[in-house]
């Protein structure tokens, strides 16, 4: 039983490690979209116009 628990803990850590690698390899589409929106708002100055008197971001 103790052995089983140890194995389960080991499996958990291994899966997590693999997940981390996956996250690093695949393109973070949602984060990229957020970053693009922030830059576009600044370049086209969309935010200050929408909310006058407020500073951007």
């Amino acid at each position: 039983m103790r052995r089983l628990l140890q194995l389960a803990a080991l499996a958990l850590v291994t899966v997590q490690g693999a997940a981390c690698v996956t996250i690093n390899i695949y393109f973070p589409a949602a984060a990229a979209e957020k970053a693009a929106d922030r830059i576009i708002d600044e370049v086209w100055q969309l935010k200050p116009e929408a909310a006058t008197g407020e500073k951007p971001k």
Binding site: L12, A19, F27, A29, A31, A36
Partner: protein
């Protein structure tokens, strides 16, 4: 035994939390190089804006801009507008490259460009010309 199960459960929760944190991570866009490109684009936008509005310049499907109808630009200004378009495209290419590089993944450049292409077009005001997926110009 019960203690061990509790430990395992705590470990599991910790790992789930860590993975959620990693997935919610943002792309870093606050480097000096990116800020400089952004500032140049912002300053240039004032000059480009009337040509977006007249339809002389449009947003391409590959995240760039193009002089789509030179006849809408007075002859005397055509050279200036062409130069503005070329400069803007140079900055856009540098921006996509820099974001990919700043985040340690130069190979993401094409994905970043594609993301930007979609977002520029989505955020373009009504009346501006944008390219659809087939490369045809459409007025928003």
């Amino acid at each position: 035994m019960r203690q061990q199960i509790r430990f395992l459960w705590a470990l599991f929760l910790f790992l789930v939390w860590g993975s959620a944190l990693a997935q919610g991570a943002n792309l870093d866009i606050d480097t000096p190089a990116i800020a400089a490109i952004k500032a140049a684009q912002q300053a240039r936008h004032v000059h480009l804006k009337p040509y977006y509005e007249s339809g002389a310049i449009g947003l391409t499907r590959d995240g760039m801009i193009a002089l789509r109808d030179a006849s809408l630009v007075p002859l005397a200004q055509r050279a200036t507008v062409s130069a503005l378009v070329a400069e803007e495209n140079r900055d856009r290419a540098a921006l996509y490259r820099e974001i990919a590089r700043a985040n340690g993944h130069p190979e993401w450049e094409a994905d970043i460009r594609a993301t930007f292409a979609n977002r520029w077009i989505a955020k373009a005001p009504a009346g501006w010309y944008v390219q659809n997926a087939a490369g045809e110009w459409v007025r928003k």
